[in-house]
Symmetry: C2
Subunit: 764 residues, 2 copies
């Protein structure tokens, strides 16, 4: 029966062909008459006072329509500085590349020329670059608290869970929070092995193919249509509307084709572009150049994680103490919390204390990048686990299995984990040949493993299901498909309705008409919108049965839907096609109401996703070159909806993990200048650096997920850097504590080890 | 309370400003990259064989992309000739202006130039122009039956109602149907007055401001987006999809701004433009010139109505015998049925026989024009009623009131009228001062009245209702607002939800995502989609109460929705704002499902609309000029939803009625050439010809309508020509039997009457 086969079908994304053949129309490709082009004057300094802006020469250029500074934008002033709502610098610039002036012209070329005619005078100010130095400084170095809208009493009370408390906020921190459980003194006292390390990770660029872009088109009647490369239609609409101070329904957000996002595409440029279009009452567009995108988007923050852990010789964890410092750049961020939860929540630490800080520096504001904070946390905790296992002479897999958190174990902020597949992925990897043969390495080779978890998000979602004239169904959703989720949702709809997947279409509508859905982040779209799809399908099915019962003069409970028709069970030939039901419920003069199901869903819990990764590497002792030879990625997906889509996520995530591990980093020098601001300088994995990847999927059903499914987008990137670092450790005995792992640092380490004649354990 | 005030509010259409300021973007204004422009080679003959088409010179012109004839179009051949599915002539042309060749070029100018380089040789064939002559001809003059897909046995059985029977189909008729009741011989035998007349009405052009237009954009992946000036999104989508032979979901129909339609905008050009875009895999657009629109669109058909009626001297109707001949042009039409129903169904004729024919001639295929067939039928039957009243010396109003059909009276095809306001509108007009003072006319002045009915349509409809972040609501519909219906639907939503109308937005979505609704024709949008709106609002309200009950810890039945919040009845201050409910049901991590109501509706009956019009005219005996001095339009609207919208319909309909009566006509000469094919030759009422119009609305609730409302779009045009003709009759004693009433014909009549010294009663 068709209904048994939809879920689990291998279905390719249907946007692939369009994209590969260059026919996808991104925001920058949409033709709009009378379009104005925006280009930006960027700050050359990471920190400076603006003493003068002279736009007269630019304004005088033919074809230049406007040259705008912050005060010219019709944006409602937010309570504190925010990245998207303060798109142009006011009197100071806070990071290199910060937009200062927007030039608006009839053509891109004129706008680019005019940018060079804008004169801005700056008085440089010493920038804050190193987060640890800045955290320790008691003067406010980047902003004053007032400018940020931070009230000193804001975090002075503990949160609802009762397991966190606000720490005194250092001058340059935007948040300071302590996660606490048990008694760490006691815990370390019980420990037979204590490992203490500082892990440092770089800023990382999301490196999507399509740069940030937005276009806004006013209709002359007080409404604005915004076309945006965005992950979230509704959130971006709301951001624009509240920026302009108008009701949300006055803004129609059309989610354009997204050429990669990975967490970075959340209304960065939209308020700016909308404000320009609104002010000038003409359509306006800004598409970042790649250089602007490197300088002035929202990369993943650098982190410094000082971690101390203890365990007994029989392999029981006793305590974790950590200081989490997230370099949030010039705007407040939200990464320190997730880092802390995963650092202290992946394994059972009866005693823990994590002090987490977000620290301001003169860098672009940090954003989300696929499982934000998780690769950094995983790198640190998996390094600790690995090193303690080695110190205690324990099997690292068994050590993990003994301590891994499972359903009911508490997270550092208090609530218990729901049902998770952490143990299942570890056990699957344990039984895999690649782990069983871990001892059979050649010279310079090593095997590393890591467990990575992602708490995942949840958000209410809704969808509608409509029967079409040909007996097919259309589901309308408000989510944006940035990762092939629509294919999976079509399978969920097909499964529920008992029709072939090619009879299902998922339609992404704009914010004027779409059923609400959250942004495509947090690996929650299949989990939340997918559940709404199923409910909408069930609703439509009920309506179809009621109509068919009347037409067939049969009882509803005697009907079944299969093969594109509703038929009376056990009575061959007594059926009615879905196309006829569609016709009867839409025909002129017809007496049956149209089939239109709606599905509304809200999950109380999220559905965390766990992975266990294994990397086998070879390290060249002379050059420090790390080559990833084999890779096994085990992931709990709850239920396999579309294996093609999941495997795509796994391959992509592993590839990005290799980038985290060995290549990618945005380096800011002491002046706050970005030294790797182009694809010439910023290294990323190519096909040459990516080994064959074996992807193994495990199904530990999520209680609330559609057919048990969990989100699968973010988990694949979490464990890569940690597994590769552990493999390097296994191969060389050198413990990498910095990401990316730099060949020159490894070589230095090898050399000093040879000179010292002993096995140093830290790469720096 | 707000909920009491929404319905009946005077609300202006919000698209007015945009249109008046020239910022509405019609299909021709939408910018699309890479757009191809289509121009047509039209037949200069009304009937001819195509002997040769030479496109070589046109093809050779730079910028010309394709020059296409019928065989080049990738359209699935329909079962018989159809207007939209045979957009280019094959081997013969059947009307002047019929498109023969489509030239496709990179610019409009190139396409226009290339059109002149296409050589088409024709052998002229004698055209069939006069419908009566053609009906009497036993040779097939325009098409053969096979080409039309007419099977001779098609109508050989009576319809379900049992009151119609198929007549033998004459060679040039596409349909021949008899409506029969009682015994007409007997009926006429009982009559004291028998009046027999032939009424002739011209072809009439809908004269919308924006010509027919369509644009199709392929996406390179097998899907097509069509932007169209159309009254019906779904019907046009289906027409395009079936033309191309692809599933309907592959076509996305975006209903563009419509610059007037009046019944003429139903997928005329869309299959042609879609086929061109599909074949060339590039966007293509065709916007008719005004001249093309006059020649080759779908005007209202001319009719010849031979009517004989009888009545007793005490004012009882006894019999109606009629021959209804509708000149359907070169393609089959559907007007004869409505003409017959209204001719025989407005008053109670115990005995009737109506033979109704659609006759082919060499003119463009007839289409719908606001209440298609009704002005013609009304003109005839109201002329008969008026003349019989005069012959019998009866008060024409009382004579009407005595015989008017009401709820339960049978229509000529059998079924009874549902509840209608026919008597109510007559009585209202009877009591009006304009009627009471009808004797107080100056020289050459007269007063005429007419009762007009419109059966109206029904079709299943659906809608959704979404709660927005600011506590406002968005309703998504699949209907097209060609007449301000969205304002009325907003009022229905506001009334149901108890919020202010400015908190309601009606969103027209494209066919990919919209809930199904029928085309905006038949005066059924408020009646059907409006009912779905109410149900969607009720569903949303239930969801809101359920959520609020949980948040407020109160029982649902204790809650009320007013003032933008849900509150516990009788407990001031215990309430929760709709904005907070929106937030709770959409927030990240939130535990309440989004508010999304759906409404699905199907009415078994339609809600006919009746009008009674009174015109006071002055006729200049020397020039024949008829001036409309005063006008009273009484209309039963069931329930007044938006008086502003209704009054707009009344003013527009009355104005068009004056056009029908006195000015408008497409005249085809003996060769089938259109002699009034421009706004220079085709007269229409301007503000100078339109008197003050008094609009009086009567409310006879429709049992199924939203709050009792009926459709109001078409009825206002029905009675105008009849009332004015009756006023001319009253003023002059001359009975107009042809539309438009021609001044020169009246003068001829006056002259011949003066010469004969007696009062002739027919204008020709």
């Amino acid at each position: 029966m068709e209904s048994q086969t939809a879920i689990g079908s291998w279905v390719r994304r249907d946007d692939g062909g369009v994209k590969v053949r260059g026919r996808a129309r991104y925001t920058g490709d949409i033709a709009i008459p009378d379009l104005l082009h925006v280009r930006l004057v960027l700050s050359p300094y990471a920190h400076a006072k603006i003493t003068r802006i002279d736009t007269s020469a630019a304004r005088a250029m033919p074809g230049v329509v406007a040259v705008l500074t912050a005060g010219d934008l019709p944006l409602v002033e937010p309570e504190g500085l925010t990245r998207s709502r303060d798109p142009l610098a006011r009197d100071r610039v806070f990071f290199e590349g910060q937009p200062v002036v927007a030039v608006v012209a009839e053509s891109e070329a004129i706008a680019m020329d005019a940018v060079t005619e804008v004169l801005v005078d700056y008085d440089e100010i010493e920038p804050a670059v190193d987060p640890m130095t800045t955290l320790g400084d008691d003067r406010e170095r980047v902003h004053d608290s007032e400018a940020l809208g931070i009230r000193e009493d804001a975090g002075a009370h503990t949160t609802a869970h009762g397991h966190t408390e606000a720490l005194p906020r250092p001058a340059n921190a935007t948040s300071a929070q302590r996660y606490k459980r048990g008694d760490i003194e006691q815990g370390f006292a019980e420990a037979d092995s204590i490992v203490e390390r500082e892990y440092v990770t770089s800023w990382v660029y999301q490196a999507y193919l399509e740069p940030q872009s937005s276009m806004a088109v006013p209709d002359g009647a007080g409404n604005l249509t915004v076309y945006s490369s965005t992950q979230g239609s509704f959130s971006t609409r709301n951001e624009v509307a509240s920026g302009l101070g108008i009701p949300p329904q006055r803004v129609k957000l059309v989610a354009a084709e997204v050429g990669g996002a990975f967490g970075a595409k959340y209304a960065l440029l939209d308020p700016l572009v909308a404000a320009i279009a609104w002010k000038l009452d003409r359509p306006a567009r800004l598409v970042y150049t790649r250089s602007e995108d490197f300088l002035a988007s929202t990369p993943a923050p650098g982190t410094v994680l000082q971690v101390k852990t203890g365990a007994t010789k029989d392999g029981r964890l006793t305590a974790l103490q950590a200081k989490v410092v997230v370099d949030t750049g010039a705007f407040p961020g939200e990464t320190a919390g997730i880092v802390s939860l995963l650092l202290g929540g992946t394994y059972r630490f009866p005693n823990l204390q994590i002090d987490a800080y977000e620290v301001l520096t003169n860098k672009p504001g940090a954003g989300a990048y696929r499982a934000p904070g998780a690769p950094q946390a995983c790198f640190a905790i998996e390094g600790q686990i690995e090193e303690m296992a080695r110190e205690l002479g324990l099997d690292p897999m068994e050590f993990r299995l003994k301590n891994v958190t499972e359903e009911g174990d508490l997270m550092p902020d208090g609530p218990p984990w729901p049902r998770v597949g952490s143990r299942a992925v570890l056990e699957t990897l344990r039984d895999h040949a690649a782990w069983q043969k871990r001892g059979e390495n050649g010279p310079g080779e090593g095997v590393g493993i890591a467990l990575g978890g992602w708490p995942a998000g949840t958000q209410p979602a809704s969808a509608t299901c409509r029967l079409n004239p040909d007996g097919s169904f259309s589901f309308t959703v408000g989510s944006v498909d940035i990762a092939g989720t629509n294919v999976g949702m079509a399978l969920l709809g097909a499964q529920t309705l008992g029709v072939s997947p090619d009879k299902i279409e998922i339609v992404e509508a704009d914010t004027d008409s779409a059923p609400f859905a959250g942004a495509s982040g947090g690996s929650k779209i299949t989990y939340t919108v997918g559940s709404a799809i199923i409910k909408a399908a069930e609703d439509a099915k009920r309506q179809i049965f009621a109509l068919a019962a009347e037409m067939l003069e049969a009882a509803e409970q005697d009907l079944e839907l299969a093969g594109g028709e509703v038929r009376v069970k056990g009575v061959p030939g007594r059926g009615i096609g879905l196309d006829r039901i569609a016709s009867a419920s839409t025909a002129f003069g017809g007496g049956y109401a149209p089939i239109l199901g709606d599905g509304r869903d809200a999950h109380a819990d999220s559905a965390p996703g766990f992975v266990a990764h294994l990397a086998r590497v070879r390290v060249d002792e002379d050059t420090g070159l790390v080559t990833v030879l084999d890779y096994v990625a085990v992931q709990d997906v709850g239920k396999i909806i579309n294996p093609a889509g999941i495997q795509g996520q796994v391959y992509g995530g592993v590839t990005q993990g290799i980038g985290w591990a060995l290549m990618e980093g945005l380096y800011y020098d002491d002046s706050g200048h970005l030294r790797t601001g182009s694809f010439v300088d910023y290294a990323m994995p190519s096909a040459l650096e990516v080994p064959g990847i074996e992807s193994i999927l495990v199904e530990v059903p999520s209680p609330d997920g559609p057919f048990g499914a969990r989100g699968v987008g973010e988990p694949p990137v979490v464990a890569g850097a940690a597994a590769i670092a552990n493999a390097v450790y296994d191969a060389t005995g050198v413990r990498p504590t910095q990401l990316p792992i730099m060949a020159e640092k490894l070589v230095e380490e090898f050399q000093s080890r040879r000179q010292a004649g002993r096995g140093e354990r830290s790469a720096h």
